[in-house]
């Protein structure tokens, strides 16, 4: 079983739709939970960062973490064509390790 499972998509939605992206994980040692956005031929950029269960909102983006179910989500409200990208969930272990463990990414296209 992979440590992180993420639906690769592709996901195509009309402009203005609410988008839901999800990851499940198996490692209880994951302490920090992140979402990165990666445009084509670019490096990933951090969107959301949290370390506790619950919701965290930033503009049109909401990150949700459920540690008991080992499940994280990213919601995008009022989606825009500029949101078209690959979205990667990422995790950091507790302890001294600092490297990111990524999901495989979900490719999102928002149609104008």
């Amino acid at each position: 079983q992979k440590e992180v499972e993420q639906d690769p998509g592709p996901l195509s939605v009309p402009e203005g739709a609410i988008v839901s992206l999800n990851c499940t994980y198996s490692n209880s040692a994951f302490q920090y939970f992140m979402w990165y956005r990666q445009y084509s031929r670019k490096g990933p950029e951090l969107l959301m960062y949290t370390y506790s269960s619950g919701n965290k909102e930033d503009g049109r983006f909401t990150a949700q973490v459920d540690k008991s179910s080992k499940y994280i989500s990213l919601f995008i409200r009022d989606s825009q064509p500029s949101d078209s990208a690959t979205y990667l969930c990422a995790f950091v272990y507790s302890g001294s390790a600092r490297q990111l463990t990524f999901g495989s990414g979900t490719q999102l296209t928002v149609l104008p």
Binding site: V4, R41, G43, R98, L100, F102, S104, G105
Partner: protein, 114 residues
């Protein structure tokens, strides 16, 4: 200020050649990471530096892969005797401190081994 830069952006190598990939982190950033991203996959960790010390190289796939950061700033990832399975995008990231700080990624070097 400038972000993380990587060079070259694209590299084509014949199987068996050695390659060197360069990363210039954000100035003053203590931590530097290398990741490998295969087509259609998420990045996978290769190695981690804190200043000039390589603290974790557990993700390097074979002894053909070698990384260094001799003065605690610029880093080089070297791949010896390249194989077709080494074809991927190699991403470098840096973060300000030694903790779980935000990692800032460069644009990557796309390596194609023929």
């Amino acid at each position: 200020g400038a972000g993380v830069s990587q060079s070259p952006r694209y590299k084509v190598a014949k199987r068996g050649q050695d390659v060197a990939l360069r990363c210039d982190p954000i100035s003053g950033h203590v931590s530097l990471f290398w990741y490998q991203q295969a087509l259609g996959q998420g990045p996978e960790f290769l190695t981690y530096f804190q200043n000039e010390a390589q603290l974790d190289k557990s993700g390097l796939p074979s002894d053909r892969f070698f990384a260094e950061r001799p003065e605690g700033s610029v880093s080089t990832l070297k791949i010896q005797r390249t194989q077709q399975e080494d074809s991927a995008v190699y991403l470098c990231a840096s973060s300000l401190g030694a903790g779980a700080d935000t990692q800032y990624f460069g644009p990557g070097t796309r390596l194609t081994v023929l």
